[in-house]
Amino acid sequence: MFSDYSWAELGSIFAMQGFAGLSLFSVYLLMALGLAIIFGQMGVINMAHGEFMILGAYVTYLCSNMVQQYLPFLFGGYFFVAIVLAFIVTAALGALVEWLLIRHLYKRPLDTLLATWGLSLILQQLYRTIFGAREVGVDLPSWMLGSISANDMIDIPINGLVVMSITLLIALGVYLLMFRSGFGRQTRAVVQNRVMAGAVGINTEKVDRLTFSLGCGIAGIAGSAFTMVGSTGPTAGQLYIVDTFLVVVFGGAASLLGTVASAFTISQAQSTLEFFLSGSMAKVLTLVTVVVILMLRPQGLFASKVRR
């Protein structure tokens, strides 16, 4: 499949697809970070994670429209406001869902799968009722349009770079929060031994709620990033949930570094292969590779080395 191209062309294709893949990487990584916190840390299989992302995307869409309509002179900076709003709205919904639903199911992990799947259907229908079945797109401010030309064959999209920088900042923030702060220490203690964490004085219910809502909030940010990659529709989140679980499991459920590495690998493989093959063949190849690697290394790419 490579024989039709010269070496210089191949190099440019890989570079361009690589940069295009970065936007996908951002979405995967943000989705997976949220899911890694919820699934990896709490053991809750959140099938509604994609819908939380789409909620973030809708918030971004609303925010973009509002600003365009009422405060057009601020349009250049709306994206950053939208990210914050998306985080707040989805985190609030996450806290509500935890209180209503998830906290009753911590001892029944498989039931969370069904319950959150039901939740995802409810949310989809809600989006359809409120925003309509048609997909919506978000207008970008002019400074985020266009691309940087590295040479005459390679163009790097600016919005991809912006989104990726934000993603990396958030990944760093999540790392610091989980491994350097008191809250992170409490979360990890609850994860490792819920009963014992309570017996050393940690309010486990509060930690659970905050953790779940943080994971959902990050999915909301993923939604903001998603508006750059695809168009927002009620069911768009479903397409990403399987891939995201793949990223989390491939990376090693409790490892944030593993999540970054596996999001990068999967999104780049996907994006590069898509240029040469059809989209579905690219997916098949990626999936088969991941499955084979997981057969050889079931604990994922990065697993912590400790006696159990």
Binding site: R185, R188, Q192, V195, G198, A199, V200, G201, N203, R308
Partner: protein, 229 residues
């Protein structure tokens, strides 16, 4: 310090503790001895709010903790060292101790904790799960002490630990009691350790306290008979 009145606990329909009554005085060490399955661990778990009570009252310093959640009991002054240590395996030794600081609001581990357990200072960046059994036991005690308890509950602290370390542990526990005026309730199967450490010994059998004696006038053979299988 701790007063337990007509205390009952059950797993579903089957009652395990049938109305226990005992007191733990300030800076007193009380050992609860008994064979397997007699209710020692259930009592400890229940005092810590892990197994719910089905009747009676527990007071810590005249505060009724009977219906509190675990973390509230920690604030009320109970420190817990469970059977099997239950340290957090993938967290470092330092982080393990720091989890105990949650209820006190302190930011850093006080130096006298490390003075009690110097080995933990040397290993403060090792993962808890990679420590030996004896070191994990010390870590579990340090973690409980970090919560600044008024009373410490130890559930079979000698289980799976070599004899020389058991003697060392008895020495450390007495030192903690003397320095911090701490009350200690310890459940045990090893009578020699209980005799070594306790001011008073309670014998528990089938969920009832069947014998009680101060250390000085304890009839060792009678207690040993209770423990014989």
């Amino acid at each position: 310090m701790i007063s337990v009145q007509d205390y009952r606990a059950s797993y579903g329909q089957s009652e395990v503790l049938h109305g226990l009554n005992f007191e733990l005085g300030k800076s007193e060490i009380v050992a609860i001895v008994g064979r397997n399955g007699m209710g020692k661990t259930t009592l400890m778990k229940s005092l810590m709010g892990i197994v719910p009570p089905s009747g009676g009252h527990v007071r810590v310093d005249s505060v009724d903790v009977t219906h509190m959640k675990s973390f509230e009991r920690v604030s009320a002054g109970l420190g817990y060292v469970p059977q099997g240590r239950m340290i957090f395996p993938t967290m470092s030794v330092k982080e393990n101790i720091e989890t105990g600081l949650t209820s006190t609001g302190e930011k850093s581990i006080s130096d006298d904790l490390y003075q009690l357990f110097p080995v933990l200072k040397d290993m403060s960046h090792r993962r808890g799960g990679n420590l030996s059994g004896g070191q994990q036991q010390q870590l579990a005690i340090a973690r409980a002490l970090a919560t600044q308890p008024k009373a410490l509950l130890l559930d079979e602290p000698t289980e799976g630990i070599q004899p020389s370390i058991i003697r060392e542990m008895a020495r450390v526990l007495r030192r903690i009691r003397d320095e911090r005026q701490l009350s200690i309730l310890v459940s045990e199967q090893v009578l020699s350790f209980a005799m070594d450490i306790a001011d008073r010994v309670l014998v528990i059998e089938n969920g009832n306290i069947v014998h009680e004696a101060q250390r000085d006038d304890i009839d060792e053979q009678q207690v040993a008979a209770y423990l014989a299988v």
